[in-house]
């Protein structure tokens, strides 16, 4: 019994750290959303939440976020799987290709956003420059000034910046598939595509779900890239939930309202992460 207490003592510092860093802001956000903290007259109310349901700007941001996450996560998984398959092949200078493939992920998202903003710039931007020189476009396109184009540009930029995360998870999955399974499939008469279908895909399923869930959480929380690239504009066209929450909380000081958005997002993400949690619990058992 004494030994048990000692064990708890060892994890106490880490537990306290987590409590302060993770626990406090989470609890604070929930309390603020119910108007119970850091307000002049604390009183429990659901006003922030009822207002959310009727706020067209919030609903627009929510649908923006859903569209953004669906498109970006899908492209991450497709690009990530493709690059992982290429990097898993026996090629010369493998380490070099791996370093190159991972570079986008090493770029801080704010910097990434700024770089893409310059690239999409109407006049000196490289995108327009290429389009004009090759004759694909007669005049410069205002990429970040038109709602649909701006949303597309942001999704393209984030697809580029974030794919290495999914790629790394899937590459680890690919490398853990025993070579003998491919050889058994070869002897069984599988073509290259059938090997992919009957060996790679089923063996990669768990890693795919992990990449899907973690990337969905990651992209739902994305802020810096969009903030630095468009700031949510033009209009509300690229405004995602995190930007709106930031705006309400830090610019308009609608503390309760801003916090309620964060709570809604966190709740949705919690449910999205359930399959992953269930899977990792099952693996531990």
């Amino acid at each position: 019994m004494r030994d048990n207490y000692k064990g708890y003592l060892f994890i106490l510092p880490a537990f306290l750290m987590l409590l302060v860093i993770l626990g406090f802001p989470a609890v604070a956000a929930v309390l603020q959303s119910f108007n119970l903290m850091w307000v002049s007259k604390p009183a429990f109310t659901l006003r922030a939440y009822t207002a959310l349901a009727q706020d067209p700007e919030f609903l627009r941001s929510l649908s923006n976020t859903v569209l953004f996450v669906v498109v970006v996560v899908s492209s991450h998984l497709v690009i990530g799987l493709g690059v992982a398959l290429l990097l898993n092949m026996e090629v010369r200078f493998k380490w070099l290709w791996r370093v190159v493939a991972i570079l986008p992920w090493t770029m801080p998202d704010v910097i990434g956003g700024l770089v893409w903003r310059f690239m999409f710039d109407t006049l000196p931007g490289i995108v327009n420059s290429v389009l004009l020189r090759t004759g694909l476009s007669a005049e410069p396109v205002d990429w970040l000034g038109q709602p649909d184009l701006a949303f597309g540009a942001v999704m393209l930029a984030e697809s580029w910046r974030g794919y290495p995360y999914a790629m790394l998870i899937l590459l680890a999955g690919l490398q853990s598939i025993p070579r003998q399974q491919y050889e058994a499939a070869e002897l069984d008469g599988c073509s290259a595509f059938q090997k992919f279908l009957f060996v790679t895909v089923p063996n990669l399923k768990h890693m795919f779900i992990i990449a899907l869930v973690l990337d969905t959480i990651w992209e739902s929380r994305l802020f810096g890239m969009v903030f630095s690239m468009t700031g949510g504009g033009p209009g509300y066209s690229t405004q995602i939930l995190t930007l709106l929450s930031y705006k309400q909380y830090f610019q308009f000081f609608n503390v309760s309202y801003g916090a309620s958005m964060a709570v809604v997002l966190a709740t949705v993400l919690f449910f999205i992460s359930l399959p992953y949690l269930r899977m990792s619990m099952r693996q531990q058992l």
């Binding site: 025993p178 003998q180 399974q181 050889e183 058994a184 499939a185 070869e186 002897l187 069984d188 008469g189 599988c190 059938q194 009957f198 060996v199 089923p202 063996n203 399923k205």
Partner: protein, 360 residues
């Protein structure tokens, strides 16, 4: 007639040759074991037969057809892997049926073949299970079932028992041998375990560093090893070796090894002064004997398994292992003379390590 003819086969990886011109003719219905320490090239040779590894030079013919440029799936062979290589997402039934489905065989025939193989391997109850729900032995049987349903000309086994515990290994050894006798298919079996080789093979191919050291029946290899490598590799505990020189005095012959006088039969080959390696198996030593003086030994360890007793003892020329049937009242620290049975002594040339003439 499913023979496997390996003719002067070489294999190089990045210019580095690992198999140096191997010749083996495996007869129809024969059970041949490729054995050797890790890195000797036995698995590479098997993989070349399977078509999973390209042949750098030489030829491999299966049932008379040269298969160098024939794809693995068209060689009419089946292979059982060390880690079973079952498809983790398919049931036992589907694992076994998979290759037949790919061939486009009709469902009724697939079903008949799978159920037949399941009956042979006692897998009937497990057909709907997933591989992760099976024990190691059961998985290995499914892997064999997957091979059997294809009714191949040649079965290839790549260290199939290495992942099993000792007891299961003995059981599966019997099952595989029994299966071979019932199916009568040509079988090539790779292992590093000399006991598996001795107990299962019709013929053993002993390999070392990419070369074939000797081919023959288990007992002929045990009785007449061609060189010190084969002599030391086959048999457990391993053969005792002493380096020395042949001495003759009239009809007496012996090997002088660091002050030890190791008796030889009078008809033993080797001129006086010939540098040799004297080999005697632990089971061919006994305590007490007649004729020449024995090997003076101080017992270091006594290991008794009930049915047999094994001792490790110190001699002036190094350690020696002896194995006796039944129980022995020897104790550590005791000094005893050990006598080699003269008709079971082996003599090898010290320079070439090759066997010298007939000792007996």
């Amino acid at each position: 007639m499913a023979t496997v003819d390996i003719r002067n086969v070489r294999k190089a990886f990045d210019g580095h040759e690992v198999i140096h011109g191997v010749n083996v003719l495996i007869e129809d219905k024969e059970f041949v074991v490729l054995v050797g320490p890790s890195g000797c090239g036995k698995s590479t040779l098997l993989r070349m037969i399977a078509g999973l590894e390209e042949i750098t030079s030489g030829e491999i013919a299966i049932a008379g057809r040269v298969v160098n440029n024939v794809r693995a799936k068209e060689r009419d062979i089946a292979m059982v892997f060390q880690n079973y290589a079952l498809y983790p997402h398919m049931s036992v039934y589907k694992n076994m049926a998979f290759s037949l489905r790919l061939k486009g065989m009709d469902k009724a025939e697939i079903d008949e073949r799978v159920r037949n193989a399941a009956r042979i391997l006692n897998l009937g109850e497990l057909l709907e299970r997933q591989p992760r729900q099976l024990s190691g032995g059961q998985r290995q049987r499914v892997a064999m079932g997957r091979a059997i349903v294809r009714n191949p000309k040649v079965f290839l086994f790549d260290e199939p028992l290495s992942n099993l515990d000792a007891k299961l290994r003995v059981q599966m050894r019997t099952e595989i041998k029994d299966l071979h006798l019932r199916l009568g298919a040509t079988t090539v079996y790779v292992t590093h375990d000399q006991l598996e080789a001795m107990t299962m093979a019709d013929r053993i191919v002993v390999m070392s560093e990419g070369n074939v050291e000797q081919i023959g029946s288990p007992l002929s290899l045990y009785d007449r090893p061609d060189n010190t490598f084969v002599a030391g590799f086959l048999g457990s505990p391993a053969m005792n070796f002493f380096k020395g020189e042949v001495r003759r005095d009239g009809v007496d012959a012996w090997v002088e090894a660091q002050g030890l006088r190791l008796a030889l039969p009078p008809e033993a080959a080797g001129e006086s002064g010939h540098a040799v390696v004297y080999g005697v198996r632990p089971e061919h030593l006994r305590v007490g004997g007649e004729g020449a003086a024995g090997i003076p030994c101080r017992v270091v360890v006594v290991e008794s398994t009930g049915a047999a007793t094994q001792i490790v003892a110190e001699t002036p020329a190094g350690r020696i292992t002896a194995a006796f049937e039944g129980r022995h009242a020897l104790r550590p620290g005791e000094t005893v003379p050990l006598y080699a049975r003269l008709d079971n002594v082996h003599l090898f040339d010290a320079a070439t390590t090759k066997r010298i003439g007939e000792v007996r």
